[in-house]
C-alpha cells in the first residue's frame, strides 16, 4: 500500500524549471514531476499571493477555474475544477490578490511546440495573513536549500551510499529525488537557482512588503479542450472484470499455497476449467492482465502479481 504523497515545499521558480515527468505504471499509480533540485513531486505546498480566479473552459457542467500564485521567485498557475469543489469555491471567492497557501497536485502540460507548463491543481487552500504566508515561504526556502545542498553533495560525491545519507536523517524520498534530478538535468545551473532564492529571503525578513501579483495572463488564452490524454484502453465490460477478478483470486490462492510464491499456469488453467472457464478464455484474460502490468510470467509457466 502506497503511503500518502508528501506535499513538497517548493518555490514557483522551482516549478517553472521542472520539465521532466515520471509516469507511474499499474493500478492507481502516481505520477511525479521531477525538478532539477531534488523534488519528485506528486503533491506540493506553495505560498504566495493569489490573483483573482478566472473561469476557463466553456462547458458549464464542467466548471474550471484558474488563478496565478506569485511568490518572490516566480509564478505558477493554480487551478481547480468540479472535482475539487471546496478549493474551487475558495479560488472563486477572492475579488482581489491576497496571500494564500495552496496544497495541490502538480500537473505538467506540454503544448504542441513542446514547451511545458506546470500548474498546481488545488486540493486545499486558505487565504492567510501576511505573517503566516512569510512563515511558510521561510519553510519553503529552508527545504529548498536543504534539497539543493543534497543535490550538490551527491554531484560532488556520486558514490556516497544512500544509507550514509539516510543515517544523517535525510529522507529517502529526497535522496532518490536528488539522484533522479542529477540524471535528468545534468547541466542545470544550481548557482543561479540559489541566487533566485534571495528575494524570497528578503520577503521573509519583511523588507520587500507584500508581493505584487505577477502580470495577468494574456486574456486571449481560452482553453476549450483538456490536453490530449494518452489513448485509453477500451473499457472493460462487467463480465470481463468479473473474469479477471476470478482469475486473480485463483492465482493468489495458488501463489499463497506454493513454496516459491508463483502460481503454476497449468494448475491455474485446470482450476479455472473446473469453474467452467475454457483454456482459451483463460489465456485471453491472462493476456489482458499481462498487458495491463497486473500479472507477470518471469519464468515460463509460472505466474505472479507484478
Amino acid at each position: 500500500m502506497a503511503l500518502r504523497e508528501p506535499a513538497w515545499r517548493v518555490t514557483a521558480r522551482e516549478l517553472e524549471t521542472s520539465l521532466e515527468e515520471e509516469k507511474g505504471v499499474g493500478d492507481r499509480a502516481a505520477s511525479y514531476l521531477l525538478s532539477p533540485f531534488a523534488a519528485r513531486m506528486n503533491r506540493v505546498l506553495v505560498a504566495g499571493t493569489l490573483s483573482p480566479a478566472e473561469p476557463i473552459g466553456r462547458d458549464e457542467t464542467q466548471p474550471f477555474w484558474r488563478s496565478r500564485l506569485t511568490d518572490p521567485t516566480g509564478a505558477v498557475a493554480v487551478t481547480a475544477g468540479s472535482f475539487q469543489p471546496r478549493a474551487m469555491a475558495q479560488l472563486r471567492s477572492s475579488p482581489a490578490p491576497r496571500p494564500a497557501l495552496v496544497v495541490g497536485k502538480t500537473h505538467l502540460y506540454r503544448g504542441r511546440d513542446g514547451v511545458g507548463y506546470v500548474s498546481v491543481r488545488a486540493e486545499g487552500m486558505r487565504f492567510v495573513g501576511e505573517a503566516e504566508e512569510r512563515a511558510e515561504v521561510a519553510e519553503i526556502v529552508r527545504q529548498s536549500l536543504d534539497r539543493l545542498d543534497l543535490v550538490e553533495r551527491i554531484a560532488r560525491e556520486p558514490s556516497v551510499p544512500d544509507a550514509t545519507l539516510a543515517a544523517e536523517g535525510i529522507p529517502r524520498t529526497w535522496i532518490r529525488a536528488a539522484r533522479e534530478s542529477l540524471r535528468r538535468y545534468p547541466n542545470v545551473d544550481r548557482v543561479a537557482f540559489r541566487r533566485d532564492l534571495r528575494p524570497a529571503v528578503r520577503h521573509v525578513a519583511g523588507d520587500s512588503g507584500p508581493i505584487a501579483p505577477g502580470p495577468a495572463p494574456p486574456p486571449s488564452v481560452t482553453i476549450t479542450r483538456a490536453p490530449p490524454a494518452p489513448p485509453a484502453p477500451p473499457p472493460r465490460t462487467a463480465a470481463e472484470r468479473a473474469e479477471e477478478s476470478a482469475f486473480l483470486d485463483r492465482l493468489d490462492e495458488l501463489a499463497d499455497a506454493s513454496a516459491d510464491g508463483y502460481a503454476d499456469l497449468k494448475e491455474l488453467v485446470a482450476r479455472l476449467a473446473d469453474e467452467g472457464v475454457s483454456a482459451e478464455r483463460a489465456e485471453l484474460v491472462l493476456g489482458r492482465l499481462e498487458e495491463d502490468g497486473v500479472v507477470e510470467e518471469p519464468i515460463v509457466g509460472k505466474l505472479r502479481r507484478a
Binding site: W8, R126, R134
Partner: protein
C-alpha cells in the same frame, strides 16, 4: 496424567534450546494460557478433543498442542513434565505437540529449569519486538500510573507506563506492583514483549524481577518527553514510536472529522445510526479531527479528540450542534473545521503506530507553532551567502 518417570534416553531440553527434530524430547513448562476445542476428522466425522496454548519455562514460551488431554486438572500456571514430545516448526518458531505417545505428568516449580539471571542476555529497547522473552534490559521509567481493568470477571490493577534506554522507548504494562516510580532506573528480567493495539509492549508479571540500578547511561525522562521534533519521514521509517514528536502543516482532514456520533457502549463512530458491533444505537455527539499533518518529508494522521479539536478550532461541541440545527448539513461543520485548520503549523507529541495507511498519532499534546520571522530570515540569509 501418568506419573511414570521418563526413560533416560530422552533428553530434557529448555524451551529456549528447542529445535525441530525427529526424535522426541522431554520438557518441563508452565501453562501460560490455553484453550480447549474439538477437531472433527473428515474421514469418519469423529471428534477429537484438543487443548492448545502457550507453555513457558522462563527461558522461552512456545505454543503447544495436546491431543486427547485430560478433562480436568489443567489450569493457568499448572506446571507439566512431558516426555516424548514432538517438536515442529511453524513460521520459524518451534511448536510442541503432545500425542498419544507423550507421557504428561504434574511437576513443581523446582522442576523448572534453573535460570541464572547472569546468563540472560542484555538487550537494548530498540531490539525488542514481540514475542521476545528471556532477556534483560536496563531502562529508565519515564512515566507510570496504575489503572484498573476488568479481565473476565476479575478487577485487576495494571501499572501502565513507558520505559526507555538510549536506543528507544517501549510501553510497559506491569500486572504486578513493583512500586515503580517515574525517573527510576531499573534492571528488568523475566518480562516478555507482546503486540498490543499495534504497539510493542513490555509485559511484567509476578515472574519478573526488577532491581533498582544507578542507570548513569540512561536518558532523563524529560529528554524523552521534550525531545525536539523529527522529520515525518524518520517517524514513518521507525514505524511510529512511543514518543513521537513532529512539526508540520495541516494539509487536510480524513473522514470522519467534525461532528461525529459514537456508540454509547463502545465509543465507535456510528454510521447512519448503526454501530459496527452493537447495531442500531442512539449515538452520542462528539467532536474530532483526523488531521493530515505534512512536513514536506512525509505525512501522518493525527487523531485529535474533542478537547484538542475544540481548542484548535475555537468552536465547542455545543456550538457545532447549534450550527447543525441552524443548517442541517454535517458536511458544513467538517468544511468549517478544515477551513480553520488548513495550513496551520502544529507541533504534535504522542504515540505513533503504523499500518498500511501510514503512521497515526494519538496526541498527548498539539501546540500551534509561532515562527520567528526575523530569526528565520537571518538564518536563511546566512545560508545563502555561505553557499555561493
Amino acid at each position: 496424567m501418568s506419573a511414570e518417570r521418563p526413560p533416560a534416553t530422552i533428553p530434557e531440553v529448555r524451551l529456549r534450546d528447542l529445535r525441530p527434530s525427529v526424535s522426541p524430547v522431554e520438557l518441563v513448562g508452565r501453562v501460560v494460557s490455553f484453550d480447549r476445542r474439538e477437531v472433527v476428522r473428515k474421514s469418519d466425522q469423529s471428534r477429537r478433543p484438543l487443548l492448545s496454548g502457550l507453555l513457558s519455562d522462563g527461558t522461552a514460551t512456545v505454543r503447544f498442542t495436546w491431543w486427547d488431554p485430560p478433562r480436568e486438572g489443567i489450569e493457568r500456571g499448572t506446571i507439566l513434565r512431558a516426555v516424548g514430545v514432538e517438536v515442529r516448526e511453524f513460521r520459524d518458531r518451534p511448536e510442541v505437540t503432545f500425542t498419544w505417545r507423550t507421557r504428561v505428568s504434574a511437576a513443581g516449580p523446582a522442576d523448572l529449569p534453573r535460570v541464572d539471571s547472569e546468563e540472560i542476555p542484555f538487550r537494548s529497547v530498540s531490539e525488542l519486538g514481540p514475542p521476545d522473552e528471556g532477556f534483560r534490559v536496563e531502562v529508565r521509567v519515564v512515566r507510570i500510573a496504575p489503572r484498573t481493568v476488568t479481565v473476565g470477571e476479575e478487577r485487576r490493577v495494571v501499572h501502565d507506563g513507558l520505559v526507555a534506554d538510549r536506543s528507544g522507548a517501549i510501553a510497559l504494562s506491569s500486572w504486578s506492583d513493583f512500586g515503580l516510580l517515574p525517573g527510576e532506573a531499573v534492571r528488568i528480567s523475566g518480562g516478555y514483549v507482546r503486540q498490543f493495539r499495534g504497539r510493542s509492549q513490555l509485559v511484567l508479571d509476578e515472574r519478573a524481577t526488577v532491581v533498582r540500578v544507578e542507570g548513569r547511561d540512561l536518558p532523563a525522562p524529560e529528554a524523552l518527553l521534550r525531545a525536539p521534533p523529527r522529520t515525518i519521514a524518520a517517524v514513518e521509517d521507525a514505524g511510529g514510536g512511543e514518543t513521537v514528536a513532529v512539526e508540520g502543516v495541516v494539509v487536510g482532514l480524513l473522514p470522519p472529522s467534525g461532528l461525529v456520533y459514537r456508540c454509547p457502549t463502545c465509543a465507535r463512530t456510528v454510521k447512519n445510526g448503526i454501530c459496527r458491533i452493537h447495531g442500531q444505537v442512539e449515538g452520542r455527539a462528539d467532536l474530532r479531527a483526523r488531521i493530515v499533518l505534512d512536513d514536506g518529508t512525509g505525512a501522518l494522521t493525527v487523531n485529535a479528540g474533542r478537547a484538542e479539536t475544540e481548542r484548535l478550532w475555537g468552536v465547542t461541541l455545543d456550538d457545532a450542534r447549534r450550527r447543525l440545527r441552524e443548517q442541517p448539513d454535517p458536511s458544513l461543520i467538517e468544511e468549517a473545521l478544515l477551513e480553520s485548520l488548513l495550513g496551520r503549523r502544529l507541533r504534535v507529541r504522542g504515540v505513533g503506530t503504523k499500518d498500511d495507511f501510514g503512521v497515526t498519532v494519538v496526541p498527548e499534546s498539539i501546540e500551534p507553532v509561532e515562527v520567528d520571522l526575523d530569526a528565520a530570515a537571518a538564518e536563511l540569509a546566512a545560508r545563502l551567502s555561505g553557499g555561493t
